[in-house]
Amino acid sequence: MHWLHTTGRRGRRLAAYAAGDLSGPERARAESALAGCPGCRHEVEAYRLVARALRATPRVSLTAAEAQAFWPEVERRIAAGERPRRLPARPALREMLWDHRRLGLASAAAAAVLVVGLTLGQMSGWLHRGSVPSNGVEVVSVEPGGDAPVMLFQAPGSSLKVIWIFEERPSVWEVIR
């Protein structure tokens, strides 16, 4: 397989070479590879035209009036000091995912696993270990109660007890399926 055809990096290498961003051995390697790859040369030419077009973008200057009024306006803004500052716009989710696609996918997968795991773990804990860790309320007793399990909760230091009756529902796995 051709060096420049290495999956995933081919385009980057071509674009970087065409823009003059490769140096030394990488550049030499690209040139020798290009010699036997007409398709690659075609792409390099396309990237070069893009680079030339970008570099030929005309520069824009302030008009004389704008240039003269520039510093006074900056000074006015400095003096205003407490001017209302707009919060910086956060990057769109699409942009962040674009830049960090693998990281984004991995994070989403990890978050999904965590949420499912915690949910299942908590539900399992309620039903089998007899305690609810998040708010300090303790399960005093669990009565299977035939079709409807009954749980008795009590907060530490309180005489108040709460009775929960669980109606029969499909299991978690049945719900997920």
Partner: protein
Amino acid sequence: MCKYRIDHDLERLRIQRRRGIEPARDHPEPEDDRALVRRAQQGEREAFATLVRRHQDRAFNLAYQMVRHREDALDVAQEAFARAYTSLPSFKGDATFGTWLHRIVVNLAIDSLRRRRRGGETPYDDWRGLPEEPDGELTAPDDPGMALEAKQTRALLARGIAELPPAQRAALILREVEGLSYEEIARAVGCSPGTVMSRLFYGRRRLRQVLKARLADLR
């Protein structure tokens, strides 16, 4: 990054020379900038005014290349200097004043673009109003046909740039228009050089697709 390492100074000078930009290290003199920054940090408003006058045109051009809207570009450039002034106490001088200013301009321009996109406005609304003066390899002032082609290419390019996410646009403009190295771009936009490379690639690839028909004509 070593695979993509370039001789940054030479590359930057090469691009700047081709574009007719005076290298930042020659004009203004970095030493002068540093001295002015020190004086401005001590409260000398006039020293900061001198810095503004020196860099205002370049800051405006960078802002314009990013937002493509004259009034917005002016606002971004002026706001960048105002913010630079209030942030002067934290400026350590690790980078040049110009590079530091680039960062502020780019960030404000990106904010401006994102606000406009969220507000439902066209992000690049005066791309048709690109400056007419010929400048660069694509223009051929002596040949009306070629000049027209160059103008059409520029219009296509502007339309393609308009569709790029702001971060990709910033990377492309800083690299191809301002002639900054990957590392300088990374510092200016606050990301890693690898991310810069990635943004450049996707931006170039998108522009190549936009110019595809044009490329076929030119072949």
